[in-house]
């Protein structure tokens, strides 16, 4: 889940001096990266000539490519930095946002929902909603998705420029324009092929760039137990190193949440809502070459999602153990101090000399740029297929829509740059932009899942469920903003802290969406069965995998994720 952190950005604005100085070899590594990504875009131009190629990478990706890009589309640099900061602040509880987010939702997408997305041959999540519910629901989700995607792309670009300013001392305008133009070139040329190739590249860079931190850090502390001992000595508490045992009450853990919020809010609704309906990630699985590969892609991604905490959460914990100074919240930032959000760059600078440092910085840059590329390619697809084609020009040639997609990509980059500059003037707007994304995720999941499993759900039910669910999320958010005491009502506890608001608001808005969909559907007429073929359970012929050896079936590997998840929870209980 991409949880761009507005306080991260506010913090970085206040930090005066750069954290890292780059050597010649570091700069060379960065330059080589830009040359390679542009070269990849130029190379792939010849393969991205039909709309299926440009928007869906030919539906030709292997399970591994689709799976790694599926994960990387979410694994942006700002998320990495934000969750390392969260680990410093909240301890190992931050790992929940990887582990319970990965399982069961990603496995559920692969085993249960991908067949409907793939067999229906839809090109996007709004496209599925049009087939299942009709134009109203498609328009609502398509327009909101297109709008949010551009906002997030712009925020991503601004965030990158700010990080590079603080970490490296680079000019903000230089960073925004160089990165944006690079993304514009390679996505306009190669479409989703380029975006996916660069995401897989980014996956390797992030791992190889960040791996030095946990390795060297655990050597410095004398292993995991040594790190834990140091943390406990510093914070005078053992609540930072337990995953579940401190979640019995809101006041017993640093995050101020209860296990119900983690299980039902985060694991049940937010994670499902994001991983199963966010088109940016689902598009990658839809680009797979066949149904079995499409089912495998999220499952492969979930294994790697489970081990991402090694390079994100462990650095945050190590910082708590080894840094000779204490990091502070943004509100307490002063010259000479560092905020939680600078954890990852600080740890990179601690262990990485010339060369490795350049690799780590390149990994962060790659993460930011891939985030923008993913957003603009998803925007181009949704705009072209779900807004332009159905409502503006219905019967044009395939080449026309590809051309629209290319121009749309350029437009998306321009709008993203404009958003980035807009945010420089109104920095607090980022907080609201992030909330905007969260309004839609949970209700959209409710609408999609009911549509896939309940034949009786009607077009009006789907539309009103999505609308009412979204409005309820907006209302709850506004209430808490205006009168913070409402948090205790939404989270059902006076001890709930800010993090709990997201979790419980998602849960309630999902419930409201589902109840509204059911209620309206019972009073309206459903589509005939002939129009629900390949869209709903019971009307969709699933592939028969009985003839395959068990190790070649997605469900076997999905079960493996469950075992892996259970072991991790037990180890870090």
């Amino acid at each position: 889940m991409s949880l761009l952190n507005a306080p991260v950005m506010a913090t970085l604005l206040e930090t005066p001096a750069r954290l890292i100085s780059l050597s010649f070899s570091d700069l060379l590594i960065i330059v080589v990266y830009f040359v390679v990504v542009l070269g990849i875009g130029l190379y792939l131009r010849r393969y991205a000539n039909s709309s299926q190629d440009f928007f869906l990478a030919g539906r030709d990706m292997s399970a591994w490519v689709a799976g790694l890009s599926f994960l990387s589309a979410n694994l942006g640099a700002l998320e990495l930095m934000g969750w390392a900061a969260a680990a410093y602040q909240y301890g190992i509880l931050a790992a929940h946002f990887y582990w319970i987010a990965a399982f069961p939702s990603m496995v559920f997408l692969g085993l249960v929902m991908m067949p409907f997305y793939y067999i229906s041959k839809t090109h996007s999540v709004p496209g599925y909603l049009q087939l299942r519910y009709g134009e109203g629901t498609r328009a609502l989700s398509g327009i909101s998705f297109a709008f949010m995607t551009i906002l997030m792309s712009g925020i991503n670009m601004y965030a990158m420029a700010l990080v590079l300013k603080v970490v490296l001392g680079w000019n903000i305008h230089f960073s925004i324009w160089v990165a944006s133009l690079t993304v514009a070139v390679y996505v306009t040329l190669g479409g989703l092929y380029s975006a996916i190739f660069n995401e897989v590249l980014q996956f390797f860079l992030i791992w190889l760039g960040a791996l030095a931190i946990p390795i060297m850090g655990l050597i410095e502390t004398g292993g995991w137990s040594g790190m834990v001992a140091r943390i406990q000595e510093r914070v005078q508490s053992d609540t930072y190193v337990h995953l579940w045992s401190t979640l019995g009450s809101f006041s017993a853990n640093p995050m101020g949440v209860h296990w119900t919020g983690i299980v039902f809010g985060l694991g049940g609704v937010i994670a499902f809502g994001y991983w199963t309906t966010d088109f940016l990630v689902v598009q990658r699985a839809m680009a797979a070459k066949d149904l079995r590969s499409a089912k495998f892609a999220p499952i492969i991604a979930s294994y790697f999602k489970m081990i991402v905490p090694l390079i994100v959460i462990v650095p945050g914990l190590l910082a708590l153990a080894v840094l000779p100074f204490k990091l502070v919240p943004e509100s307490a930032l002063q010259p000479g101090l560092h905020s939680y959000n600078e954890v990852l760059p600080l740890m990179l600078a601690r262990y990485c000399g010339p060369g490795l440092l350049g690799l780590g910085v390149t990994a962060l840059i790659a993460g930011f740029m891939s985030g923008m590329a993913g957003n603009v390619s998803a925007f181009a697809t949704v705009w072209t297929y779900d807004i332009y084609q159905p409502y503006i020009r219905k019967t044009e040639s395939d080449a026309h829509y590809v051309l629209v997609g290319r121009w749309c990509t350029i437009l998306a980059v321009i709008l993203s740059i404009a958003t980035a500059y807009f945010v420089t003037q109104f920095k607090s707007i980022m907080d609201y932009m992030q909330a905007l994304v969260s309004f839609f995720i949970a209700p959209l999941f409710g609408t999609v899942i009911i549509g896939m499993f309940w034949k009786r759900a009607t077009s009006k039910g789907g539309f009103w469920g999505l609308l009412v669910g979204t409005v309820s999320s907006v209302v709850m958010y506004t209430l808490v903003k205006v009168h913070p005491a409402y948090l205790s009502t939404i989270a059902l506890s006076p001890n709930a802290k800010d993090m709990a608001e997201n979790l419980y608001r998602a849960l309630w808005s999902w419930i409201i969406c589902v109840l509204t969909t059911v209620a309206v559907s019972l009073f309206t007429s459903p589509k005939p069965a002939s129009q629900l073929q390949n869209l709903v359970y019971g009307y969709t012929k699933m592939s028969d995998e009985a003839g395959l050896p068990i190790y070649r079936r997605p469900i076997f590997w999905g079960a493996g994720v469950a075992v892996f998840f259970a072991v991790l929870q037990w180890i870090f209980w």
Binding site: L208, G355, L356, L359
Partner: protein, 70 residues
């Protein structure tokens, strides 16, 4: 034959990039060997190990996915 089978696979590009990075980092590490950086645990030479790792992974992917005539 699918499109993907004619196109150079992404693994090849990854292999080339990592090999180049491995070379850059190893050269930097060797040239700075007598003057280790001031980072923590520099005496373990993580840059040399990192460079070797990149070369191994990059080399594997480059050779494995080198374009061949079909």
């Amino acid at each position: 034959m699918s499109r993907e089978q004619h196109m150079l696979p992404v693994w090849f590009f990854i292999g080339v990039l990592l090999t180049v990075y491995g070379v850059i980092i190893l050269i930097t590490a060797i040239s700075d060997f007598s003057y280790p950086s001031t980072v923590v645990l520099a005496q373990y030479h993580p840059d040399i190990w990192g460079g070797i790792l990149l070369l191994l992974i990059g080399g594997f992917y480059t050779i494995r996915f080198w374009p061949r005539k079909r």
